[in-house]
């Protein structure tokens, strides 16, 4: 969004002769979604195994949704596991009990993520700061315990199993998406869709208001915006994207673990977002990539992998508060062009 505007402003001041590097930077900042799509198409061929790539873009999508809350609107939610988990369980339950259709399942997951955010958002949004964070946490834990106890529906502690492996129904033919690479591109389709949607939203007047609310709530209010509603709407969008990510994750694992609703998941997504850099498209995906890659590699080497991951996180928070992407952008001196 703002890439385009700031880039437009930037283009005006760019010297007539640009180095190839400048051109690349310029192009990337002009078409972030196209650039990311291109990158993600190549991505599964550079990671150690394709399932990791899938996992990274699913968590990146989740972080992207979370970022609508944290990065763009400035709401620190500590309960996003709720929408992710609800999305996961919705997909699983729909596929098991209602209709073996992947599209329908994912639509339901997105919808239920949004609805849960609508209800919980209504209850939380009036509070700010620490109260907001704790309320979101409390409600997410509430859902966790409901899922934990409701064994008949959710499988309880043992998780939801026996999600049917259904092929992807397209008009006229169906595709088996259980090949790792095919499934990756299936997920990528939704990631690109979410990116485009989000870009559109953030470029709209509503997107501007979101930032106004983040930067200065009383001022936004004095300009005539009902900031509570703006937050609420952002919260719902965030919940819906998280729900979609949850649905994809359930489809990916053919299994929903009770952990998907647990507060640790909420903490993890916060960590991923901070690690990558808030308030940008690319940041959450970088955060997810670094987090999951490190976890994957380190935990295969040592059982004390958490020490290393924790150290990376602490260093990031202390010395690179803009996250990996934010710092990178600063370093190449294209702050105005690339940031956000």
């Amino acid at each position: 969004m703002a890439e385009l505007q700031s880039q437009a402003a930037h283009a005006a001041t760019t010297p007539a002769v640009m180095s190839p590097w400048d051109k690349v930077v310029n192009l990337v900042s002009r078409y972030p979604v196209a650039f990311m799509t291109l990158f993600f198409i190549l991505f599964p061929f550079v990671v150690p195994y394709q399932a990791l790539a899938t996992q990274i873009i699913i968590w990146g999508l989740f972080a992207l949704g979370y970022n609508v809350c944290l990065g763009y609107t400035g709401m620190l939610s500590f309960g996003h596991a709720a929408y992710f988990g609800v999305g996961s369980y919705t997909l699983g339950i729909v596929l098991i009990r209602l209709w073996e259709n992947v599209w329908f399942g994912l639509a339901c997951a997105t919808f239920m993520g949004g609805i849960t955010a609508l209800v919980l958002g209504y209850l939380c949004i009036k509070r700010r700061g620490i109260y907001f964070a704790l309320l979101t946490l409390a409600f997410a834990q509430l859902l966790y315990f409901v899922a934990f106890q409701w064994v008949n529906l959710t499988g309880g502690d043992n998780g939801l199993r026996n999600i049917p492996a259904v092929p992807l129904a397209l008009p006229g033919f169906s595709v088996d998406i259980h090949d790792p690479l095919r499934f990756y591109f299936f997920v990528l389709f939704f990631v690109v869709l979410a990116l485009l949607l989000l870009q559109r939203i953030l470029q709209s007047p509503f997107g501007r208001v979101l930032e106004a609310v983040r930067e200065n709530d009383p001022r936004a209010r004095s300009c005539g915006y009902e900031t509570s509603n703006v937050r609420w709407l952002a919260f719902i969008v965030s919940g819906a994207i998280s729900g979609l990510a949850g649905g994809l994750y359930a489809l990916y694992l053919h299994f929903v673990g009770i952990e998907s609703l647990y507060w640790v998941t909420s903490g993890q997504i916060l960590m991923i977002t901070l690690l990558g850099g808030m308030g940008s498209f690319i940041g959450p995906f970088i955060g997810a990539g670094v987090f999951l890659f490190l976890e994957d590699v380190l935990s295969a080497i040592t059982v004390n992998w958490m020490i290393f991951l924790g150290t990376v996180f602490i260093l990031c928070v202390l010395f690179f508060p803009d996250g990996i992407w934010g710092t990178f952008v600063k370093l190449i001196g294209r702050k105005s062009a690339l940031k956000r």
Binding site: A2, L4, Q5, S6, Q7, A8, A9, R30, Y31, V33, A34, T37, L38, I41, Y49, Q50, A51, L52, Q55, F148, G156, D157, N158, G159, R161, N162, A165, H178, D179, P180, L181, R182, F185, L188, F189, V192, L196, Q199, R200, Q203, E211, A212, E215, N216, Y249, L253, H254, F255, G257, I258, E259, S260, G279, S299, A300, V303, W305, M306, K339, R340
Partner: protein, 426 residues
């Protein structure tokens, strides 16, 4: 970025949209031509996947499982491997989280290209791994307790369960305790499937012996402080306190119950008495505690002695607790493939089903309908050690013969006597 104003590039241009979606769609179509390199590595080492909760409250037991599996692999390799190929054990940490276990199993299958799977501790973890294995038709040897894994919904032609399950454990220990101790029982239950199933099992067997259920306290997995539960337990005046938990939870319960003076009036009973917890808590804390087990290393039995000696040589200590499951389970899996003569799930099932074997603890038998291993349960009492690791004495053996301790095939949703062919992939 408050300073940005409205610019020219508002909205996604149609061109950008088509470009991106077009590329994505093209790539997806291209993905269709991608073929999986499966069963190509037939010449290299045969990889055996083994996800275990190395970090978390069951870490000690998981390390024991790892050592047991490694010993079995080493023995098979020494005898020429599997179908002439060396076997390689690939261990992954599940952190005791089910979705992590599922992810790890997926990684092992898709990236490491394992051809057989074992491992896991905790019901949720093994069910998640089983799910992944069923999906791709890979044999999976489960080596920790679960009731569900042999039930119709989760069991399959690919699934094997070497360990005891909570039902068997409680039938054996409960029957024994009902005859030896008082009839007022109180339950301290770890609040998840494993704990619930233990408590349910005890209630079931207790009824047959006229046992009175005087109360239950549930605690979350990984509780540090149990002392706040004890006044209520004391007030209920039970004869027996049944401690339906595992790992560090068991250690903390018994340690704190001892310092609280609970043992003066109440007999402590652990369905799964762990040497690891006993070693951690010390002699005084466990004095007089009785419980059940699948295996104890001082058992006087030829195969047990052989197993313990080999384990001791490799690890410098005797096997405790769950090493036996892993050792025996991995042996069954690998030797089964050798007997089958090819790496084929159906041939393996035929080679294993209805088999009588004795790998480390006495007679065991693979029941065909659910791939559950029938075995004996031992009753242990904690004692003052004469040497290190000499912590229990076997005071009784509850025979598992003739499916006495197992749920019936019908109860589990299988046809009795018919080999399990659920979920078989063509």
């Amino acid at each position: 970025m408050p300073e940005h104003q409205k610019g020219k590039g508002k909205g996604v241009s149609r061109r950008t949209f088509f470009k991106t979606t077009g590329v994505a769609a093209g790539a997806a179509a291209l993905g269709g031509f991608h073929f999986v390199r499966k069963s190509q590595a037939a010449s290299g080492p045969l990889k055996l996947g083994c996800p275990l909760p190395l970090t978390g409250p069951y870490g000690t037991e998981a390390l024991d499982q790892q050592a047991g599996a490694a010993l079995a692999v080493a023995e098979v390799n020494k005898n020429g491997g599997v179908l002439g190929r060396k076997v390689e054990l690939v261990v992954r940490d599940t952190k005791l989280k089910a979705d992590e276990a599922a992810r790890r199993a997926k990684e092992l299958i898709e990236s490491v290209k394992v051809e057989l799977m074992t491992g896991c501790l905790s019901a949720a973890n093994q069910l998640a791994v089983n799910e992944q294995c069923k999906l791709v038709g890979m044999p999976y040897m489960s080596i920790s307790q679960s009731n569900e894994i042999t039930e119709r919904r989760d069991a399959s032609v690919y699934t094997y369960h070497e360990a005891l399950d909570p039902h068997t454990t409680t039938q054996a220990v409960g029957k024994w305790a009902a005859q030896k101790f008082g009839k007022r029982w109180y339950f301290l239950t770890s609040d998840y499937a494993f704990g619930w199933q233990l408590t349910d099992g005890f209630r079931r067997v207790g009824k047959m012996f006229g046992v009175q259920d005087v109360g239950e306290t549930k605690h979350p997995l990984g509780t540090a402080d149990f002392s706040s539960y004890f006044p209520r337990i004391m007030a209920a005046k039970p004869d027996v306190l049944i401690i339906d938990n595992f790992g560090k939870d068991q250690l903390n319960t018994i340690k704190q119950a001892t310092s609280f003076g609970l043992k003066k009036k109440i007999q402590l009973l652990c369905p799964v008495l762990l040497a690891s917890a006993r070693l951690g808590a010390g002699t005084a804390a466990y004095e007089g505690v009785v419980g059940g087990t699948s295996f104890y290393w001082e058992q006087n039995h030829p195969t047990a002695k052989k197993f313990v000696a080999a384990f001791q040589k490799a690890n410098g200590r005797p096997p405790i607790d769950y090493a036996g499951y892993a050792y025996s389970g991995v042996l069954e899996l690998l030797n089964g493939v050798n007997r089958a003569g090819k790496l084929d799930a159906l041939a393996l099932a035929t080679a294993i089903e209805n088999r009588n074997y004795d790998n480390y603890k006495g007679k065991q038998w693979w029941r065909p309908c659910d791939h559950q291993s029938q075995q004996d349960v031992f009753i242990l009492r904690s004692k003052t050690p004469k040497k290190k690791y000499d912590v229990f004495e076997i005071i009784d053996t509850v025979s598992g013969a003739n499916e006495a301790l197992l749920r019936t095939c019908v109860e589990l949703g299988h046809k009795p006597g018919v080999p399990n062919r659920t979920g078989l992939k063509k």
